[in-house]
Subunit: 226 residues, 2 copies
DNA sequence: GGAGAGTCTCAGGTGACGCTCAGGCTGGTT
DNA sequence: AACCAGCCTGAGCGTCACCTGAGACTCTCC
């Protein structure tokens, strides 16, 4: 995706949120904030970010619990944890719980940026990574799909749309979410470009045979499922 | 659900009720008022709100007692308590009794709004939630039900109706409450649309086998129970 | 500047879904 | 036991969300 990455910042400290948001926005990222664990989970569900920066210490649902819940719901978003100075235990537990990296407070913004870049790089261009769902494969390197041994060429838009589905299998994605992620504009006026591309994808994926994978949920959106 | 949340405001002080009602209504919430603990319990039963804002100090049944009764009747509605300035004890007891959060009087409307948002967010299905009752599962992500290992596809209306039942198991829901929640209009004229959809649900849920889960309570409404 | 690939619009078409209606059944009441 | 209100049931109708095919427009490459 040449699209700017989406980053969710979850911290109850407004000062930290502001610093991080401004810095990341300056770097060209799209930033969403949350002031609590609850709000974080909500925003994660709503915006489907590429990376979550997560404070461990928060009242209510803390960072570890947020990680746990995200992972247990099948979300594989990259997670960068912020831990207080000597809480070694937190770091260990954090990584065990499912975080991808951690950073000890206080940190310089450059340190944070380095981790963010590393995590997004790992996620964005993981060499050789292939996403799989049912009998469908999506090769992120070659930007092509495979099904039943046959290779399926995809255009840029088709690829991002299918990528979004493959990253959130069995989850109903609303038209709004899809539009925002793949076309990145709030379609005030009506456009049926989404339906058209769903059709392109279905044509290509079903041409070879096999059951329908992208299903319509009338009045809601679309799902990738068997 | 994109449906506007329902909030019940229980306070014997008419001035506070009015301020809170107007403000919340302006924010797009559906607000119901009650002037006493008794009325509060009544209205809670009648309207099944998503959140109850509850004054502690009231003549008759006070806020603590209302909370206690709601909880002991199995109601898991979010409760925000309003306590007078230095009544520390009330706050502690309030949370122990089953309130989810408290706010000290006097408060600014913005403070109230922040708590309300937080509580409703917590309630709004965090990602990956699956509701269970007996051998029935309702997957909020996939928008589908499961029973005996079989997947059951639901239409939008069937889904919201079943969701309402799953959120209030073993509780008799009157026709009025169901109509208001799922169809959001006061059906002055008679319509049997509710009966029709109960039938659709029963068909789908019982097609696979297993005992009836949605029972008719003649003259009252319907219940979800074994 | 022509060909081709890719994105998107537009104007029907279609079927799933929401809902109504009429008639049948059932449980509670007198 | 007869009656009636309340609920169930099957059929069917209209609408709108979604599908579909065709083509306009842009951009790139030769």
């Amino acid at each position: 995706m040449s699209e700017a990455a989406r980053i969710l910042v979850v911290d109850d400290d407004a000062k930290i949120r502001t610093v991080v948001r401004r810095g990341l926005a300056y770097e060209g990222y799209r930033v969403v904030e949350a002031a609590s664990g609850e709000e974080g989970l909500e925003k994660a569900r709503e915006h489907l970010p590429d990376l979550v920066i997560l404070d461990v210490m928060m009242p209510g649902i803390d960072g570890l619990e947020v990680t746990r819940r995200l992972r247990s719901s099948g979300d594989e978003v990259a997670i960068l944890m912020l831990t207080a100075r000597d809480e070694v235990k937190d770091r260990v537990v954090g990584l065990e719980t499912g975080a991808d990296d951690y950073l000890v407070k206080p940190f310089s913004f450059e340190e944070l940026l380095a981790r963010v870049h590393a995590l997004l790089r790992r996620r964005a261009a993981p060499s050789g990574e292939v996403l799989r769902f049912a009998d469908l494969e999506l090769d992120l390197d070659a930007r092509e799909a495979r099904r039943m041994g046959r290779t399926i060429e995809l255009t840029t838009t088709e690829f991002s749309l299918l990528l979004l589905f493959m990253r959130h299998p069995r989850k109903v994605l609303t038209r709004d979410v899809i539009m925002e992620h793949v076309w990145s504009y709030d379609f005030d006026g009506e456009s049926n470009v989404l339906e058209v591309y769903v059709r392109y994808l279905r044509n290509k994926l079903e041409m070879i045979g096999g059951p329908r994978l992208i299903h319509t949920i009338r009045g809601a959106g679309y799902v990738l499922k068997e």
